[in-house]
């Protein structure tokens, strides 16, 4: 949480920074530190979730985001976090952290405890926070995209100035309802940013084997602009998202960002990921890691090892606190089985 809260100030300082060679804002140390923190929080959180899963404390499916941290971090940094809404699939822990949801509540939901965001009734794949404008957490591939278009519909209907950010996987982008929603979003100029997190695989099926053409260009027929972005570079993601969001917020309708990324772990905890080579995984981990590159930039800018260690310690403390909470929080009361099925009006 502490890591995510710095968001606004960091964004502001980014705006006033001088341009770098590529015409982008040269990142200030503040911005670099913010991204480093945000991404590290996700990575450490996910590693901890993996560990708790290994100990049998988390059950069922558990989809980790390790490797993809720059995507949600960059996009969230470009959002108006007082207005915009977010929805994604089951690979959702990072999106919730980026929405400034409490790591304790997220982890406790993973362990199925009363202190979880859904009081243990949703689990890893189904979590929500009305307060933080995070609308799930959906286990059905493609469903989040239509729900996202609906969030955008409500923004437009109420003229509240918000934009819906709807994440989907490369696999999800083949669902019929995604095409249906591109059509309606364009037809009705809905304020929605479609984010395709192209991590190159949908479970064991590579994009090459599942998807014809180029994913972001599927909006063209509907008149939706789109682009491909390097998802291992948090600055590239933030820059593209800022432009896209400005375009959407000015009333131009939807935009598609295809963010090229990679997941280091298997699809879920039980996936040995035999469908790809060790070399392929290593090439991303060793040469493209989004956290290492920001760390390198920090060091180039003169931030010393001790200070980085201090940040690591801070993040670790947040994650450990979440893990402790997630184990100490009691299981939901047995009567919870029978509540929250309908809103009872007499209640």
């Amino acid at each position: 949480m502490a890591a995510a809260k710095k968001k606004d100030s960091a964004k502001a300082s980014n705006k006033t920074a001088p341009k770098d060679g590529a015409g982008r804002n040269a990142p200030s140390v503040d911005v670099l530190k913010k991204y480093y923190r945000d991404m590290l929080l996700i990575r450490r959180f996910e590693e901890k979730a993996g560990q708790l899963y290994g100990m049998g404390l988390i059950g069922g499916f558990c989809h980790l985001y390790i490797g993809q941290e720059a995507v949600v971090t960059g996009i969230s940094a470009a959002q108006d976090n007082d207005k915009d809404t977010v929805v994604t699939s089951y690979r959702d822990h990072a999106h919730m952290l980026a929405c400034d949801m409490d790591p304790k509540g997220i982890m406790a939901e993973l362990t199925g405890r009363e202190g979880g965001y859904s009081r243990g009734k949703g689990g890893s794949m189904h979590m929500f926070s009305k307060e933080k404008r995070f609308f799930g957490g959906h286990g059905i591939v493609g469903a989040g995209t239509a729900i996202g278009a609906g969030l955008g519909f409500a923004h437009k209907y109420t003229k509240d100035g918000g934009v819906a950010v709807a994440y989907m996987g490369d696999g999800a982008s083949n669902q019929g309802q995604v095409a249906e929603c591109y059509n309606m979003a364009a037809l009705w100029d809905l304020p929605i940013l479609f984010v395709i997190e192209n991590n190159q695989y949908g479970m064991g099926t590579s994009v090459k084997r599942s998807s014809a053409g180029t994913l972001y260009r599927r909006g063209e027929g509907y008149g939706i602009p789109g682009e491909q972005v390097d998802g291992m570079d948090v600055f590239a993601v933030e820059a593209a998202a800022s432009q896209a969001l400005e375009y959407i917020r000015s009333g131009n309708g939807p935009y598609i960002l295809e963010v090229m990324t990679y997941r280091y772990r298997g699809h879920s905890m039980s996936d040995p990921a035999k469908y790809r080579t060790k070399e392929e995984v290593a090439s991303f981990k060793e040469e493209r890691d989004p956290i290492t590159s920001v760390k390198d930039m920090l060091q180039t800018q003169g931030v010393d090892e001790a200070e980085l260690k201090e940040i690591d310690k801070e993040i670790k403390a947040i994650v450990n606190e979440a893990a402790t909470f997630a184990q100490e929080s009691p299981e939901p009361h047995v009567d919870e089985l029978w509540t929250d099925i309908l809103v009872e009006e007499s209640a």
């Binding site: 049998g56 499916f61 979880g116 209907y157 929250d340 009006e345």
Partner: protein
């Protein structure tokens, strides 16, 4: 303090595995995320990654060891400034590195469990029923609505939607042909003119997509009415109705619900054959988290539609094309005519046999009751109005009086609404019954096109008469 690395569970079902290979040796430096070992599970060979950095101080389980139980310490990790001499300090059964900081796994749960306050009050009628409690329906003084007007079912639906849209800015109507065409069955006549195109919205023919959009908008503060041109096409949207709308409140621990109405004509129309003639009452009534409503008269249509729109839950509203044009002179005009969901109506009271029906079958049941009266049998006709939550109380009170029951529905018999009511009777009225329950249903076949076959597939008043006479032992 040195910390133990434990044998991890790598799938939901894994309880033990083989330690296939160590990729680090004692004395190696380990970074978080490094692959340190390979483990064979029941399904595959998996890599084990380190969660913390340190030095691999000692390997406790050598490679090649079979059937290592989950959570067995397999190695010891040394932190900054620690040496192999410190290993004795690693507590015997301490969890892994980070887990040492997160305390033991099971104790806090058991302990806290005992301290828990008692749970929330259960109010859900269906759940209470399965706990042995039959709740009375919500009160409603229908006779007090004396100001009435004449309207068709179609007009009554339009009036209900319009009244609610006047009352609440967040209510909107969306669907195929609802705006400019005024509704495929003219149920939204005049609404585009009154409310404009931002609130009466024509969609492309994409049921799955627009149902999902409506659900998302409901989560984000609106109250959509989604028209399916017919419920047959709503099948394309069933994933959003069930997985996205009905389950969200529960999955969100009560934090976020989905106030939405899905409506459209249900059941058989006339001569449109198999793909356009099906009753979905039993399909949707199966699902916890949905309310399912089926009006018969124009007053039903108006009062139930208003209730459905005001209800904070997802409501499946099953209309009937054949009834749209039926005219009634007793439609209450009051804005407060809101029929509580979960309350059935006794359309005709009688002493000899109970006939339970919904939607178009209510009219057929009333016709049957007239014929039965001529033959000396006094039938009570119950119009369910709401299928779920089912007004079990009214049904039971009636059969306790008549001791005989016929359930009439247009849908297929298997796991139908009649089957559910049969279970109710078996569970709670067994001792009151003077005859076995009888079901009148649609024929258990896809709807045929030929006029003669279609007539045979649909239940008619005469079938109800026959069934009622049978349970009265007068056949």
């Amino acid at each position: 303090m040195p910390t133990n690395i434990l044998m991890p569970a790598l799938s939901p079902t894994m309880t033990e595995g083989n330690l296939a290979k160590w990729l680090k040796t004692e004395g190696d430096t380990v970074e978080a995320g490094d692959v340190i070992a390979e483990i064979e599970t029941d399904k595959a060979t998996m890599e084990v990654e380190a969660v913390d950095e340190g030095i691999l101080g000692k390997i406790l389980i050598s490679e090649g060891t079979q059937n290592v139980a989950v959570n067995t310490p397999i190695a010891v990790l040394l932190g900054d400034g620690e040496s192999a001499n410190d290993i004795g300090e690693a507590p015997e059964a301490a969890p892994t590195a980070a887990a040492a900081e997160v305390s033991e796994e099971s104790a806090p749960v058991a302990q806290a469990d005992a301290e828990q306050p008692s749970g929330a009050v259960v109010e859900n009628r269906d759940i209470l029923y399965h706990q042995g409690i039959i709740v009375e329906p919500p009160p409603f003084d229908e006779a007090s609505f004396t100001d009435v007007y004449t309207a068709t079912v179609r007009e009554a639906l339009r009036d209900a939607m319009s009244e609610e849209m006047r009352n609440d800015e967040t209510v909107y109507l969306m669907g195929e042909e609802v705006a400019e065409y005024q509704g495929a069955y003219k149920c939204s006549q005049g609404m585009l003119d009154e409310f404009g195109k931002d609130r009466v919205i024509d969609t492309p023919i994409t049921e799955h997509g627009f149902a999902g959009i409506a659900v998302g908008s409901a989560m984000n503060g609106l109250k959509p009415i989604v028209e399916f041109m017919t419920w047959n096409f709503g099948m394309q949207a069933i994933d959003h109705i069930i997985n996205s709308a009905a389950k969200t409140l529960y999955m969100a621990g009560g934090q976020l619900g989905c106030p939405i109405v899905f409506r459209g004509p249900n059941g058989a129309a006339s001569r449109v054959a198999a793909q356009h003639s099906q009753c979905y009452a039993s399909w949707y009534a199966h699902v916890p988290g949905l309310k399912v409503v089926a009006p018969w008269s124009a007053a039903d249509a108006k009062g139930l539609m208003k209730a459905a729109i005001r209800d904070p839950n997802p409501v499946v509203f099953l209309e009937n094309e054949i009834l749209y044009g039926e005219k009634y002179d007793n439609v209450p005009s009051s804005d407060d005519f809101v029929i509580p969901l979960g309350r059935a109506k006794i359309e005709r009271s009688g002493a000899d046999v109970t006939i339970v029906a919904f939607s178009i079958m209510v009219g057929k049941a009333l016709k049957a009751a007239e014929e039965l009266a001529e033959q000396g049998i006094d039938a009570e006709v119950i119009n369910l109005r709401t299928i779920r939550p089912l007004d079990r109380h009214t049904i039971l009170e009636s059969v306790k009086k008549t001791n005989r029951i016929v359930v009439a529905e247009e849908g297929w018999p298997f796991a139908g609404i009649g089957a559910e009511i049969a279970a109710l009777i078996g569970e709670h009225a067994f001792d009151y019954m003077d005859a076995p329950l009888a079901r009148v249903t649609g024929a258990d076949v896809p709807m045929p096109y030929a006029a003669n076959l279609e007539a045979l597939a649909l239940p008619q008043a005469e079938h109800i008469v026959k069934a009622a006479k049978k349970v009265c032992y007068q056949d």
